[in-house]
Amino acid sequence: MFFPFYARRLPDSHFLAVSRSGDYVFLGEEDLHKLTTAPQELELDRLAELQSKFFLGSPTRQGSLRLLASKLLAKRETILNGPSLHLIVLTLQCAHTCRYCQVSRSLGSLGHSMEPATLAAACEMIFESPSKSITVEFQGGDTLLRFDLIKFAIEKITERNLQEKRHLRFVVSSTLHQLDERMCDFFKQHNVYLSTSIDGPARLHNKNRPTPTRDSYERTINGINMARDLISPDVVSALMTTTRDSLLIPEEIVDEYVHLGFREIFLRPLSVYGFARRNFEHLGYSLSEFSLFYERAFEHILQINREGGDFREVMASVFLNKILSPFDGGFVDLQSPTGAGLAALAYNYDGFVYPSDEARMLAEMGDTSFRLGAIGETLDALLNSEVQQNLIRASTSPRIPGCDQCAYNSYCGPDPISAKNQAGDIFAAVHLTDHCRRNMWLFDFLFMKLHQQEKWFLDLAFQWANPTPEREFCCA
């Protein structure tokens, strides 16, 4: 008998089918028909392939069914093991007035930082999660403006972890403008990673991210250099946001990252929260505009790799991980049910806990409907809250109209928070959301690449897809 699976005709008109185990196969219409009506008529090699990819099975095949159950568990690891990503929003203060920023407030603004007592409670709450791996990420505003709070929290969490013995990691998200030697010493001592923003070449970066002194780019570069010198060469990673001005210079943006010594870039589309929403006509663009930008940048990155460079695109890596690896890379936005809340929590300066960074941004815009509860409540109460239960209901893809018949539903899941932002309802028709349309496009794009079976690309795709450190072996 055949197991549930969904097929899709790719833009290049080939048929793709994906089984519930996430295994995929390209096949002709005739085989597709046989698969559901008379599998015994399939050629033996095809039959074996479809069986081994869990398109066909039988209740008597006990070993295979246990394997399938194990595979499904591996795919859900991220949302089953308890929240492992803990965002602490320390302050909204920031010297920048970024055009797409969601939330930040000026330096002088009071009342937009977390109270130490609240922060202390958040640090304790993190350990309620059963997850063996915990990442604590400090968010702003510009976090280094409140280094005192970062230091307080890291010391507190580190001390508690002497007993807890979780696999702990800290990330500080910042412009790095205020970074100094004292901070570097502290970060080195506590194994802290730094995450910053680089939108591209200086003129683009400074245009997107204005400061009164018009030198945001230069000061961030100085911060990166200092961190690399004083902490470690790999300590900084950078993120970019694609704006309208980016669209024409994809190669330049990629080259900027290569030039700055980064080994990867995350070509992120603009998300329409916060000020970005108001500035959409200046900043925004359609999916087809973004996809042209992305494809050009992607080809450029492939060329860099072809020439022997080691440079990856992160969004493609996340999607390829879903497609090619048995192990989930842990990307919160691509889970079903959603990773918001189940895999990640945001402890906001306002004393409330939100299921994601976007949710706290919506709160900043006046929509506080995603509050799970207050910092200091139990994790159990938060995860059993009606808000969280609704998020789960709205994002369990096999039961969501639009997702239930989608070939990519083994890899993907709805994002109820962006649906609320876009359409005002977490249960908004999934296939109309930006999240869905963008993901469909990228899955299609990558599958067409995979279908070409170019050996060199497949090698690269598997490398990018791998969330675990590579086991050692020599190159064949």
Binding site: T60, E137, S195
Partner: protein
């Protein structure tokens, strides 16, 4: 003797149809049925385990080159999903601490696994009785150890022509006398006792 079915298609044709019949009870392709089927199974963690056996096949890696790789995994937490900034990637559970990426210098030159070849190509008639293997000497009682020690000394002394009695583990006067003769030959204090120096000279390690 059982016969081989030498072609794959004949083999498939010979498979009993019991399996096929069982499937008839279940409508194909339905999610609910599918899920309920799987709930009976005890799933297994598919990730490679790190349980201190990392050098198990280390010898096989001895000529492999260590490929240092992009630090993608360790930086996984730095990425944001779609928001202004922030991290949207949950770290993979317990894999970053994986010690399984042993570098070649750490890899022990262990012997490779053996091949499919079979030992005992011809096993012949069984023995009638099956003597039980003895306990390792570490599991003997103190008395048993001492007795074993004396027997070994007696064997050595017979080998040297200094003792002609029985090998019985009794530290009797004949044995002690033979030990004294040996000690005199080796210019050791002739105590007649099993001193460490005496055992060393006899080439016998103390029974542990």
């Amino acid at each position: 003797m059982k016969k081989f079915i030498k072609s794959l298609s004949l083999f498939i044709a010979s498979i009993p149809l019991a399996a096929a019949k069982a499937t008839a009870e279940l409508p194909a392709g339905q999610d609910a049925v599918f899920e309920s089927q799987l709930s009976d199974f005890n799933p297994v963690q598919l990730r490679p385990l790190n349980h201190g056996l990392d050098n198990l096949f280390a010898g096989h890696r001895s000529h492999s080159s260590h490929r240092s790789h992009s630090s993608h995994a360790s930086h996984a937490s730095h990425y944001s999903g779609s928001s202004g900034r922030g991290s949207y990637s949950v770290p993979a559970q317990d894999t970053t601490s994986s010690p399984s990426t042993t570098s070649p210098s750490e890899a022990l030159p262990a012997a490779p696994s053996f091949s499919s070849e079979q030992p005992n190509k011809e096993i012949v008639s069984p023995r009638l009785d099956a003597p039980k293997p003895p306990l390792p000497s570490s599991q003997l009682t103190f008395e048993e150890k001492r007795r074993l020690q004396v027997m070994r000394v007696q064997i050595a002394l017979i080998g040297l022509g200094l003792y002609a009695g029985t090998v019985d583990g009794e530290f009797n006067t004949d044995t002690q006398e033979a030990l004294r003769s040996f000690q005199r030959l080796k210019r050791l204090p002739s105590s007649g006792l099993m001193t460490t120096d005496t055992l060393n000279a006899l080439g016998i390690m103390a029974v542990q």
